[in-house]
């Protein structure tokens, strides 16, 4: 039996907070890694964001989406802490823009529904690598919208960009990722020739 005189507020709050947020710690860390790129810095940012979230936990409404709430705190903390060190990968972004609409980049496949025919786990492995090759600003919108299934507005809040920019970045990323996967698929079918060609062109691996 529990002693009725025990004051359970603090411990209960920790237990409830951990229970609520634990399933999202790794996923929050993934967002942090995209924001600050350095693993140690991302871990510090994630932990600090969780501490801030704990301080504000009494204002968290039951039924509210947990990860978007944590991600907003993470984003604000990142802006406060690291905004001076923000470096943009413009070169990679240009590379992505150049991919768009280049008719030579896309060769129709000989296999009907090539991506659907692939093992889903193989597709996920390739996508993990291709996501790493994206510039962080574009990777962030893919992670938020297509992996974490944030709404465009939630993603815009976390990324700190207009909702229209979220949509256009997503659109370009999906097209780019699909073409990269088709290249890989072709490379698989032809002994890696297309992938090797892509490497010679200096595409990120």
């Amino acid at each position: 039996m529990t002693d009725a005189s025990f004051e359970t507020t603090g411990g209960d709050l920790v237990a409830r907070f951990v229970q609520t947020t634990r399933p999202f710690h790794e996923r929050l860390f993934r967002i942090a890694l995209t924001l600050c790129r350095d693993r140690d810095q991302a871990a510090d940012l994630t932990q600090e964001a969780l501490i801030r979230a704990f301080r504000a936990f009494d204002r968290f409404r039951e039924g509210e989406a947990v990860l978007p709430w944590l991600a907003r705190i993470l984003r604000n903390l990142h802006l406060d802490t690291f905004k001076t060190g923000r470096a943009r990968h413009e070169v990679a972004a240009h590379q992505l823009a150049a991919d768009r609409g280049d008719p030579l980049d896309f060769q129709p496949s000989r296999v009907p529904d090539p991506l659907a025919a692939l093992e889903r786990s193989q597709l996920s492995t390739w996508l993990t690598e291709e996501l790493e090759a994206l510039d962080p600003d574009h990777r962030l919108v893919v992670i938020l919208c297509d992996i974490e299934e944030f709404s465009y507005q939630e993603a815009a809040d976390v990324a700190g960009i207009p909702i229209g920019t979220v949509r256009s970045r997503l659109s370009r990323c999906r097209e780019h990722l699909r073409q990269r996967l088709l290249h890989r698929m072709e490379g698989n079918l032809t002994g890696g020739k297309v992938v090797q060609m892509a490497r010679r062109k200096g595409e990120p691996r």
């Binding site: 039996m1 529990t2 002693d3 005189s5 025990f6 004051e7 359970t8 507020t9 603090g10 411990g11 209960d12 709050l13 920790v14 237990a15 907070f17 951990v18 710690h25 790794e26 996923r27 860390f29 993934r30 890694l33 693993r39 140690d40 871990a43 994630t46 932990q47 969780l50 501490i51 704990f54 301080r55 129709p108 496949s109 009907p112 529904d113 090539p114 991506l115 659907a116 692939l118 889903r120 786990s121 597709l123 996920s124 996508l127 993990t128 996501l131 893919v142 297509d146 992996i147 299934e149 949509r167 997503l170 659109s171 370009r172 999906r174 097209e175 990722l177 699909r178 996967l181 088709l182």
Partner: protein, 248 residues
């Protein structure tokens, strides 16, 4: 509609409701159908992309910091500036009322020479607050080690509790242990009012072995109204050691 327009819409919002003109185009255009199917397969696979693992010790550090947050909140003094003024105003009011009453009584009392009753001396009660910290030197990692702290009869909890409570007066806390020294501040504060020292029993269960230790809660020195101290429970875990704790 042109293929570029249809595909642009598909890339923009693959899950969105497609206008009738797009659906009509899709019904007869194989390259656009392929884009639609590829995007669907890609989206399914993206959801399987696993997040990176957290650095080792992340969860332990987080629990430790959360415990510190709770302890800090439990021990934080009430906001001062306002309460001080309120207390000062109340004291001033009481003094004024008492003064007025005494003056009135002095003027109206039938026996003005009768001695005023002296206030009785109030015995000063000493209260000790004890924070509890654990230091465990582990030779290897232990998942979900359990700490039990059995509270003496005279001690009560003043702060928050651990993640779960055992039966009776046992506070239980669960934590992963890493190789090396693990420092854990429990989010509890013990309140001790008795003037005599009391014993506190603690137990650690790690990887099936039980380690026990006893600690003495020393009350605050006489003359002090309140005192705060930290109890440090220490264990050295060695897989070759017998099932007994060692107090450092």
């Amino acid at each position: 509609m042109k293929c570029t327009e249809v595909q642009s819409l598909l890339y923009m919002d693959p899950d969105g409701a497609l206008p009738a003109a797009v659906q009509k185009h899709l019904g007869r255009c194989r390259p656009c159908q392929q884009v639609e199917r590829d995007l669907r397969a890609m989206k399914g696979a993206l959801r399987d992309v696993a997040p990176p693992a957290l650095p080792s010790g992340f969860e332990l550090d987080l629990r430790r910091r959360l415990a510190q947050e709770v302890s800090a909140t439990a021990a934080a003094p009430a906001p001062r500036s306002r309460s001080r003024w309120v207390a000062f105003a109340m004291a001033a009011t009481v003094l004024l009322v008492l003064g007025g009453l005494l003056l009135w009584r002095a003027r109206t009392a039938p026996t003005p020479d009768a001695p005023m009753p002296l206030p009785q001396a109030v015995a000063m009660q000493t209260v000790s607050y004890h924070r509890v910290s654990l230091a465990v030197h582990a030779a290897q990692a232990h998942a979900e080690a359990l700490f039990d702290v059995e509270l003496p009869e005279s001690a009560k909890l003043a702060g928050g509790l651990g993640s779960e409570l055992g039966d009776g007066r046992v506070v239980r806390w669960r934590s992963d242990l890493l190789p090396g020294v693990n420092e854990i501040d429990l989010p509890i504060v013990l309140r001790q009012e008795t003037p005599a020292p009391v014993q506190l029993q603690a137990r650690l269960i790690a990887s099936g072995k039980v380690y026990t230790t006893t600690l003495r809660l020393t009350p605050a020195a006489s003359g002090q109204r309140e005192a705060e101290q930290t109890l440090r429970l220490a264990w050295v875990l060695d897989p070759n050691a017998p099932c007994a704790g060692r107090v450092q």
